[in-house]
Amino acid sequence: MAPKHKSKRDPAYLEPGSAVEVSIDDEGFCGSWYSGTILCRVGLDRFYLEYNDLITNEHSRNPLREVVCLHQLRPLPPPETHREFKSGDKVDAFHNDGWWEGHVTKYLGNGRFAVYFRISDENMVFPKEQLRAHCQWINHNWVFPIINYKVSVRGKETDNLVVKRQRRDIRDMISELPDSVLLHIMNFMDTKDVVRTCVLSKRWRDLCKCLTNLTFWSPFGCECKKNFRRFVSWVLSNRDDSCSLLNLVIKSWIEAEVLDRVIRYVMSHNIQQLTMLIGLSSSPIFNSLPLIFSCKSLTSLKLCIMHDSSVIVLPKSLHLPALKSLDLGSVNFTATYEDCAEPFSNCHMLDTLFIRNCPLYDDAKVLCISNSTLSSLKITSYNVFIKIQAYKIVLSTPNLSTFTIKGFVSHQLSSSCKLSFLGPVNIGLFLVTSSIIVRWLQVLANVKILTLRSDTLQIILHDLSNPSPMRLQPPCFARLESVKVKNQLHLPDVQINRVLEYLLQNSPKSKARLDIIT
């Protein structure tokens, strides 16, 4: 009798297992509906239910179960079909796991709508999938709003019901992100993209003028010199001078006058990192270039001239007291005294030096790399189009620990110090004679980890197959721990062992490990 009575009184949507929507009476949840499932009835007008989207706490992620009153419950609204929202439409927007009552204020395109919530005086944007027509459950019937009425957005009527929900508070902060965070994001972007952000709003107009990283980039071979000039000029003349400039990158063909202006600008703003991969169409006379090589703030400098190595001649000595990392490509070293170029001895913080395709200028014949702090040195020469005259390299680098030489460099190497801290040495020479390789190894005899490319091995191998009584003696590698062979040519092990046997013949019968990397 009792069950019959109960089912008669209860509508179907209150049966255990039914899907319902719940309004929560608590402060801060006013005007929102959450979906849930009835578990059982626990009193005359009270029900125990489980929320679909709310959880007990973020840690356990169990669905929240709660006892609610009958007046908080309603069945699920009819499925949404009406998708053509207009401004002024009363809608529910799905946010923070619940449906919140609001008004469409504007269609933003791409299926997105601006929605205004009167209860909290907030505007937010939703895709149409997260919107539904607002409707009410009255007298066991769904009642849809009939009249669209205008709402006054940002109407400053103070409402006692204005309550803050925690999630919303966080969202509000996003537009309140500190400038430093927004600038941090912008510093990862190409400067061209950043400049676009000044049309976003008044705040952003000024934000992009405080960038600490600038990137002037245009594709090589692109004939847009005029635009590039205007772009650079706009950025430099609009920049907020009170903001420091830390990092500048130029990758482009560039006119000499533009480059001149950029260099003058960055030098007067205490630049720390400067990267210039530039192509110059004419041989320019730089008034500003010496400024770079005596810049006190610079910690990292990369200067590579594309396509033509005859354009830039470095000064006799670089005076860069803070410089830690230097990367030079296709620039000319000039003699400091007699026929010897010694440009690095006044860089007292230098740690890493990379020299690629750099010839000596005029009648200089020796490049002396003299620096007491230098720990990592890399020399490469791959440019087949520019014949670089072989010269003599003299190392005076007592703290050198890493050395790499790659390409076809016929330079001779010697050292005026012991190189006793040498760790890894990487040799990838090709198109040179066997004796040059062995002479390099003689200078680098203190190596701990020696990496050889297979084409370098092949040169020695070729030399070994010719009988020659005058063959150079390899050094004694007293500290050698490991030999690595990068075997791209897939030389058979027999051949590799033959070369290593020759190279290590004067070394202690050590436990130097051999790794062959293909």
Binding site: N57, E58, H59, L108, G109, N110, R112, N123, M124, V125, Q166, I170, R171, M173, I174, S175, L177, P178, V181, L182, H184, I185, M186, F188, M189, D190, K192, D193, V195, R196, T197, C198, V199, L200, S201, K202, R203, W204, R205, C224, N227, F228, R230, F231, W234
Partner: protein, 184 residues
Amino acid sequence: MAEETESTKTEPLKTAEEEFKKLEITEEEESELKLETSDHVTFMVEASIAMKFGAVQQYLEVSPAASASATAIPLHNVASRELILILEYYRMHDWVDAGERDLKEFDERFLKDLNYEELKELLLAANYLNVEKLFNFLTKSIANIIRNKDVEFVRTFFGIDNDYTPEEEAAYREENAWAGVKFV
């Protein structure tokens, strides 16, 4: 007199013992720190990870007792949801055996699992906590997301109210129309 000497003898011994005990306790407790999020969930977090959070460091500088005591370090602007993600990120990046490729894959998946709202909320949490590595990762990811997007997308993304008049906005678009700067 005799009593006095006895007490002075035992005193240092006692303190040393106490010190040792304290040391034991701090050593035990040091391996984990108690953090409480804004929604009042407490987490026991490895000290090695928690100490990477600038906010935790700062808190401990001001009240060093918190590292040894049972009181939780409050993180007022971080919800448990974000802290779980931050811990997940740091546990992976702290893992000794993780190779470069593992981390790259992890980062990609980590990012893919976040929607824009979560991403921004995580950024706020990372900014508040002062966690450098994650902060750089998130800002860089956001830079990638908004790169080449139209103005309206970026406004929505950051929740920017356009306070230009249409004329002003048009003037700015006009001004920056050089150098291939395009507005979609």
